[in-house]
Amino acid sequence: MEAVVKYLPHRRAIGSSRPARHRELVTLTALAWIVVTFVPASDAQTPKRGGTLRVSYGNEIAHLDFHTAPGYEMMWVAMNVGCGLLNITPDGKFVGDAAESWQMSSDGLLYSFKLRNNVLFHDGTKVDAAAVKFSIERLMDPATRSGMRPFYESIHSVEILDPQNVQIRLKHPYAFMLHMLAAYRTGFIIYSPAATQKYSLEDRKQGKPGAVVGCGPFRLIEWVKGSHLVMERFDKYFVPGLPYLDRVVIRVIKDPVTEMAAFKAGEIDFIASFSPEHVDTLRAQSPRAQIMTSKETTPMLAAMKVTVPKDGKPMSKERAPHPIFGDLRARKAIGCYGIDRQEIVKIAFKGQATPWVGMTAPGTLDTVDVNHLCPYDQARAKALLAEVGYGPQKPLTFELMTNTEKSVFSVIATVIKEQMARIGVTANIRLVDKVTWMTAANQDGPWDMYVEDLLSQLTLDSNNFLSTSGAAWNHSRHTDTKVDEYYARYAREMDPVRRRAIAKELQEFVADKMYWNVISGSPFYMVAQPWMKGYVYNAEFEVHYDKVWLDK
């Protein structure tokens, strides 16, 4: 309607200079034109059924056991093939998935979920309380080896009240129970007990037809590693009318140049994770593309190792300070005052990121801006280094490891090297592949500093398995149990105001001790063709195709 109002005066203006009959003709033609042009345009906002969404992933899917496979690529499949209890919206509201309603007891120890009565697994069996209990217990079982296990540790038991009602009893309050169930990694995915017992883990990992049984809007048809993954509309999905698409085909295109060419040529509809370095190029090449992003939820780290094994055996419980960064003054000189975060963002991200010191990224829940704790100050950095005994007579040299997964890592490492030179420090860059980096970092290998962005964080709580003293991913190997206490207090505090105060304390403490050295946020982009409609961007946390439709 708005378009009609804008359009009519223009047509009248043309018609007014012509004879009356012509004027009528022009008016009629104009009206006809308006009907033809604008009526379908308003119809276009009504979702259309059918079509195939062609998605591009930049990395290969690891495997298809949703409870154990690493990587976002698998997670984004799991969110569409599987269903859980609830999901989270971009503004932080919880919405029911298989759960119709839920409530928490006043002491925060009991969560009750009522399931919808029309939720079916893709093999036709019903999703019930037993399936929920089975899936949670599978995730909690150490034999499953799920990366989610640490977040289920607060669960005491799962009780089936009746086929539609299930209760989760906690050992202690856990303020992020719903966040965790909604969107930590894949979010909680319900497994079919029958299919899980019928097929082996290997069958599921391989994506054998029948073995990967979910209750989501799409069912898995085929996964051929290195080629494609195909999902098809599940006709008995519990939300009537959804999904709109008939099919989703995912292809892996690793080279961003090829990805851009395929996008421009209209061969793909959606790039699930687009390289930030190429966003400007893509914007120039495809001006109508929908480029989606938000405040960063992934921190870019320049991690420093705090302790090393005393006996030289990796992962040893007996720790000694790292020869360089075991000293807080050296950590502060290098990581805090010696790094110009503004410059890194300007050069490595063309200004498209936020310089940041706090341990959680700018877009994460309960993040705190502690940038004032680490101003770029060469003189202070040099003074601290002199205190430790480094200077022109005894220059400090350390190794700066980074990996080839993203080209931006090397750029950041190069800028840091240059910044170190300004304070008389030599940083020798060691470029390795991702697995070598992961091995060195996870297995307590010999490294001094590394540049990486680990993973996206929905809440500060979701970072605990990367930074508590006993965590496997505590790469800096700090041994400060005060960090663990902060995390525990934070996660158990049910009052949001008090919780935020603890979050602030924790982030200031970590920044002060330089256990977790953040450079900036790490931007994340998704790109869609103009004809892809209905997609709700929620960073890496929720990637759902059920409401997506194609306006072609």
Binding site: A62, A69, P70, R145, V224, S227, A261, E267, K434, V435
Partner: protein, 324 residues
């Protein structure tokens, strides 16, 4: 002849095994642990130990090799550590893509090299010769990925999507999966740019080599005799000169297969093709030992067999050559 072929076929077995052994040992000497990649953010040292035990990665390297070999003899190529998929199944899915790419890129190379070399040799030191030589020089100097990107920019972006930038469409009757794009024309469209990107460099090498051979051959007495007998230029060139000049070229063609496999890794990655090249590179990057072994086995086997075929081609090109 039959004995020769049999001997050569038997030689394939130790050669391929030696290659797989070397790669097996080398891969395990490279830093990086596949278990770390497998467990991802669920990594704990305790779980890693259990997984290593489950995959036999805690055993001595040679014991692991013998186990792998034993299974191979029973037709079991192993299970990918990262994806849990049978390696042989994935190799068979990807093999046709790479085979087609290699055959067609060699075809592209020959289609360019043979006429260019003949013109260059017959019209030595003319503009035609200089052009052929210069183009060959440029072809040798430009890496496959760069030619690939130029082709992408020209045909996929510049000319409004004339050719698809990525992916693969199978030839009718060759789809090894449930869901495939299948069409002859689609296949041609998808393979054209990768084959040109991979073939141009080889064409350049073959042009230079064949031109030199042709120059030698056309100055030999039997070619002069053929001309003196009044034979037309075409049979002189194609029947007498080219056939003999091709012998060193064919030898190099066989050796170029190794480079083509290496180049296929780059080209397949650039054009996002589901071939053996991307399979191999993913395996190496992920330290997926079983997958690396599968890749090595198939490529080593292909290389040795193609070189055997090349050796046998000599008898066709030069009937004087006989194998005892």
């Amino acid at each position: 002849m039959r004995t020769y072929i049999l001997k050569r076929l038997l030689q394939i077995v130790p050669t391929v095994l030696m290659i797989t052994l070397v790669v097996f040992v080398m891969m395990r000497s490279v830093p990086g642990d596949p278990v770390v990649a497998l467990l991802g953010d669920g990594y704990t040292e305790e779980d890693a130990i259990k997984v290593r035990e489950a995959y036999g990665l805690n055993k001595p390297i040679l014991v692991q090799y013998v186990i792998w070999l034993g299974k191979l003899c029973q037709g079991d190529w192993g299970i990918s550590i990262l994806s849990g998929r049978p390696v042989l199944q994935d190799v068979l899915v990807r093999l046709p893509v790479t085979l087609e790419l290699i055959v067609l890129s060699m075809g592209v190379a020959l289609v360019i090299a043979i006429p260019a070399a003949i013109i260059g040799a017959l019209r030595q030191n003319t503009w035609a010769d200089y052009t052929a030589t210069s183009v060959a020089m440029i072809g040798v100097s430009i890496p496959e990925f760069f030619i690939g990107v130029l082709l992408l920019l020209l045909f996929s972006i510049g000319l409004g999507g004339l050719l698809p930038s990525s992916g693969w469409v199978y030839l009718p009757g060759t789809c090894p999966m449930m869901v495939c794009g299948v069409s002859l024309w689609g296949n041609v469209q998808h393979v054209l740019m990768p084959a040109i990107a991979l073939g141009v460099g080889r064409a350049a090498i073959l042009t230079r080599l064949l031109r030199t051979s042709m120059l030698e051959v056309i100055r030999t007495e039997y070619v002069t005799t053929a001309r003196a007998k009044g034979l037309a230029e075409r049979p002189v060139v194609f029947k007498h000169a080219l056939k003999n000049a091709l012998i060193p070229t064919v030898t190099v063609m066989g050796l170029q297969v190794g480079f083509l496999i290496g180049g296929a890794i780059v080209v397949e990655t650039l054009f996002a093709m589901p071939g053996l090249g991307t399979f191999g590179i993913d395996a190496i990057i992920g330290r997926d030992y079983q997958q690396v072994q599968g890749f090595t086995l198939i490529t080593a086997f292909a290389f040795v067999v193609i070189n055997l075929i090349v050796d046998l081609t000599y008898t066709f090109l030069d009937p004087r050559i006989r194998y005892a």
